[in-house]
């Protein structure tokens, strides 16, 4: 695994002396960040889209209109969205332990990232779904389609480019959250930048951390754009 990064090492040695010295630590941080981002993205995408659908269909006059749920669910979503991430990490510690058996390391970071991101994604997905003309739902009902079929075959498909945009945006926010989660024990590039770059005045490590995070962000945006182009929007 480490050898794969060795050719980069030769290149950076003269400009980034501390990076060369702590190379093993740097590579570990990159792997940790990629793990955090990819695993949480999987959960966030599935749960966020699901919650987004729920938010839309329970609203007034929609397919599964429900007054009680429509009072409770949006408020819960707003509540979780308004808690600052670092505080959320500390607050849900018992829940994190219950879910993954530990509150530190990559698994310990993934739980709070997912909890923080799902409401965010859900709101974005909700907006994308609301873009679909209400008349399209009337049309689908008039053809005698069942409600689940309308949600999954019509609503999701019509809103797909909006959903892809929402997921791209969320994946980028997620990189930011993963950097913060590092500080509270998740490891990763954010942790590296604070503990080495900041605390030990190794500014080359800070700079490298920045470049790495930027690289990941550009990569994710690129994937998003590619998918949108393939969808033809």
């Amino acid at each position: 695994m480490f050898s794969a990064f060795d050719f980069i090492l030769d290149f950076v040695k003269p400009f980034f002396p501390n990076v060369a010295q702590y190379w093993a630590r740097v590579v570990k941080a990159i792997v940790e960040t990629l793990e955090m981002v990819s695993v949480s993205f999987g959960f966030v995408a599935v749960l966020g889209v699901a919650l987004g659908i729920v938010l839309v269909v329970i609203s007034e006059g929609h397919l599964y209109e429900n007054k009680i749920l429509n009072t409770v669910v949006p408020r819960l979503v707003n509540l979780f969205r308004s808690i600052p991430f670092v505080i959320l990490v500390a607050f849900i510690l018992p829940f994190t332990r219950f879910m993954v058996g530990t509150a530190v390391g990559v698994p310990g970071a993934i739980v709070p990232i997912v909890v923080a991101m799902v409401p965010f994604v859900a709101r974005q997905v909700e907006l994308a779904l609301l873009e679909v003309n209400r008349g399209v739902i009337d049309m689908a009902l008039s053809l005698g389609f069942s409600k689940p079929y309308i949600v999954f075959r019509i609503l999701l498909k019509e809103a797909r480019s909006g959903i892809v945009r929402a997921l791209t945006l969320s994946s980028i926010s997620l990189v930011g959250y993963s950097a913060m989660a590092g500080v509270v024990g998740g490891g990763g590039i954010g942790d590296l930048a604070i503990r080495y770059g900041y605390a030990r005045f190794m500014s080359d490590i800070t700079l490298l951390s920045l470049l790495l995070l930027l690289g990941i962000v550009f990569f994710l945006q690129g994937i998003g754009n590619f998918v949108l182009e393939r969808l033809g929007t």
Partner: protein, 350 residues
Amino acid sequence: MRAIEVTDVFKTYRTRSGSVEALKGVSLHVEKGDIFGVIGHSGSGKSTLIRCINRLEKFDRGSIFVGGSDLMSLSEKELRQKRQKIGMIFQQFHLLRNDSVYGNVLLPLTYAGSGKAAAAEKADRLLTRVGLREKRGAYPSQLSGGQQQRVAIARALANDPEILLCDEATSALDPDTTHSILALLKELNQELQLTVLIITHEMAVVKDICSNVAVLDGGKIVEQGKTLEMFTNPRHSVTKQFANSLFEQDKIKEVLLGEYVKKVIGSGGLVARLIFKGEKANDALISDVSRRFGIDASIIFGNIEIIQSQPLGNLYVAFSGPADRIAEAVDYAAAQGVLVQRVAENAERR
């Protein structure tokens, strides 16, 4: 059996800011194979009415029978099956943007579980019928409004419905396209014995294809009957408005204020509106009257509308000559089956 039977339907929308009575006891029935129009101004409740007929909207009281079954007694599943037999097209077409023309038409067929080959064959046939076979691969955004509505019609017909509901289906289209869509509906009505219910605010639509019409105003049906008769002799003020818009009646006001009319009336003449129906419109009544009674009859304004392929003539005629002859002439015209309305005459004559 009647295709649609609406009896005393009430519907009130309740919102936080108060309630709106959209339908206040609407009753109408549509015979099988008929093209029935419901005309009304915006806010008259006509959209609510058509949405009640496939229960996109629930109503509070009354009953609606479609094809013999009571809509309110159907279970969710039965309602879905019923809706497959009630096609609907909309003002904004509502095609799926992310599906091709073919995909849009295929959708109800795959949902209904037709085999792949059968569904493809039928989608093709429907697209050919609406004249868009060569556009099957196009996406809705690449089509004109009229073409989009044709795709929507093909999609609505996929489940072989007995009834087609048209909710302002031509209101977003220009007059020529409106005409071609209406012609298509008429053809489908005759080929498939399809019952068509049209909701509109445009007289042109009713005039073109509806054999029966109901006028909706303030959530009530104020007048209904055969289209030609309704607009020959409208009774309710809203019906009169629609009839007047058909005959461009506002223009006559200027003509009546003109010098010529003043002169005719000043010399004891009379301006009358003559309404001819059916074959009467083709008779040479004006010259006949003129010769027979030795008076002058000049047409100052007029038009002939074709309603349901029957001509309906609307003429404003200024008669001048001896008063008694004019009176005889008018009686004679009325006796010939022409509807006569006195529009302007000398006050002393009364």
